[in-house]
């Protein structure tokens, strides 16, 4: 498989920007990625826009601001995995040989609080009160606590770690450390998940410029290799996530995070132990807990121990969510995976300052969301 590399990365901070349109936010990140790569907008041969809650042809509306063009610009949507889906399309286009330079943009501008449930749920689920995404995450947490003895404190420690990491990330929304006591006494959103343990929908954008290895050589600069970019949909009953109405009690399929990361590890020719830093889907703190097990950072049921031992902190064996994760950055859905990718690029370039993982050479970004849409991208120096 020909190699595709990242030659430029850009990000608009994640947060709430009342006075900014999504076009403005998106164009900012795209422009920054182009500048970082040292290429002109007119050099780009194809562009992909990851977004979920924005109107049709958002990509074209945003990128028009960089100058008129006739290149194909497609919007891509796969729930929380949209960014992975968009990046994968760019890689496939470059690997096809038709193009050698593409822009991948993720952008979102979202309403505050609960989103319009009809985007995800059927009318009967809404009528019966089964249309809140955190309810589904919470039920996974409750079951894990029941089966493995995972505690409220262990879940709170993940939120504590991510909030603390975010202090050093100028692109995060909150950037405020919270004590374990503050986290555990924050309002219960959906038992056992509390307000300071959950991510908020917000606005933001992130972008990368990707090129064939040959084109990248001509552009020059320090490039980051895309070792793998996998996107899958959860197997039958392998995942319980909105808007599922039931779950088989007899099927025993591998879950989407394990399935997708296995595929990505195989393509990259490495394993979890070879990865120096991780950015994963912490839509809530428990979600990150179970991902430790699903990525193979520890055996099933032992994620609580991993966090107790501090192994997922910066400086630990498996640093996770150095950026502060979605819990502190917020989750602008279309932008979230590309935001993770931009963080990993920064880590692999040793540009992450206070949140730098010393000597990071391999990084993994993971997203998982509605309908069991999952994406895993592995980057290498």
């Amino acid at each position: 498989m020909p190699e595709v590399v990242i030659v430029g990365a850009g990000i608009h901070p994640f947060g709430r920007f009342k006075d900014k349109s999504y076009e403005e936010i998106g164009a900012f990140a795209a422009k920054q990625a182009l500048n970082d790569a040292g290429v002109a907008w007119s050099d780009i041969q194809s562009a992909y826009c990851s977004r979920m809650y924005l109107p049709a042809t958002s990509g074209a509306r945003i990128l028009r601001r960089l100058g008129s063009t006739t290149i194909p610009i497609c919007d891509i949507e796969a729930a929380c995995a949209s960014g992975g889906a968009a990046l994968r399309q760019a890689i496939l286009a470059i690997n096809s040989g038709e193009i050698d330079l593409a822009l991948v943009l993720g952008v979102e501008k979202m309403p505050r609080g609960f989103m319009d449930p009809s985007m995800i749920y059927s009318p009967w689920q809404i009528q019966m009160g089964m249309s809140m995404n955190p309810a589904y995450w919470s039920m996974r947490a409750k079951r894990h606590m029941y089966e493995f003895g995972t505690t409220d404190l262990q879940i709170a420690k993940v939120a504590y770690k991510n909030h603390r990491n975010s202090v050093h990330n100028e692109n995060a929304m909150y950037r405020k450390p919270f004590s374990i006591e503050e986290i555990l006494s924050s309002p219960m959103v959906m038992d056992p998940i509390r307000l300071l343990e959950i991510c908020a929908a917000n606005d933001g954008a992130a972008a990368v410029v990707v090129a064939s290895k040959e084109r990248a050589r001509r552009i020059g600069g320090k490039h980051i290799n895309i070792a793998a970019c996998s996107q899958t949909l959860a197997q039958y009953s392998a995942d319980f996530r909105c808007p599922a109405d039931s779950l088989s009690a007899t099927a025993n399929n591998m879950g989407p995070t394990e399935f997708t990361s296995n595929q990505a590890f195989e393509r990259a020719g490495i394993g979890a132990d070879d990865v120096d830093c991780f950015e994963v889907q912490d839509t809530d703190a428990f979600c990150e807990v179970e991902i430790y097990e699903q990525l193979g950072l520890c055996p099933l049921g032992e994620a609580g121990r991993l966090i107790d031992e501090g192994q997922t902190e910066i400086g630990g064996r498996y640093p996770v969510n150095m950026s502060g994760g979605l819990i502190s950055k917020g989750e602008p859905v279309g932008a979230s995976h590309l935001g993770q990718v931009v963080e990993i690029v920064s880590q692999l370039r040793s540009q992450s300052g206070e949140r730098q993982v010393e000597g990071a050479k391999v990084g993994l970004a993971h997203v998982l969301g509605a309908g069991g849409n999952c994406a895993v991208t592995i980057l290498k120096v």
């Binding site: 009160g129 089964m130 809140m132 409750k142 959103v189 599922a244």
Partner: protein, 149 residues
Amino acid sequence: MDMVENNPAEFQRVPVRDGLLAGDLRRLDGVRLAGTRCHSCGEVSLGQNQVCLNCGGDQVSHVSLSDRGMLWSYTIVRNRPPGDYKGPDPFKPFGIGLVELPDGIRVMSPLDVEISDVQIGMPLQFRAFVQHVDAEHHEVIAFKFTGVA
């Protein structure tokens, strides 16, 4: 509560979702969740489906699911759900959970159990009930699971 439930319908009754309920909606005691059993892989899926949601096979039977189950996991809804929620007004916190049925399926359902009493493993009983009257004056039949005395 639910005094009108077993009266012959003055209103026509419809299920909250087509194909979700089995039995005569005029007699709510006999109503059950509908399921689809696959003759190829044996999986049972929720509702009356034309193909198996696991293997895609079309050799399937429509079945009634058991009305007794056990709570597999749950959470408590503490704020009024968004959108067109038809529960009590003013809002009252309630549990929702995955109820494991002996048919080999766990079904997401509201729980009619005191929230402080909800726990994993508790036995539960299926109940169909009139949820609301819709714009066409149909009584809309939904379901919940209640505690077992």
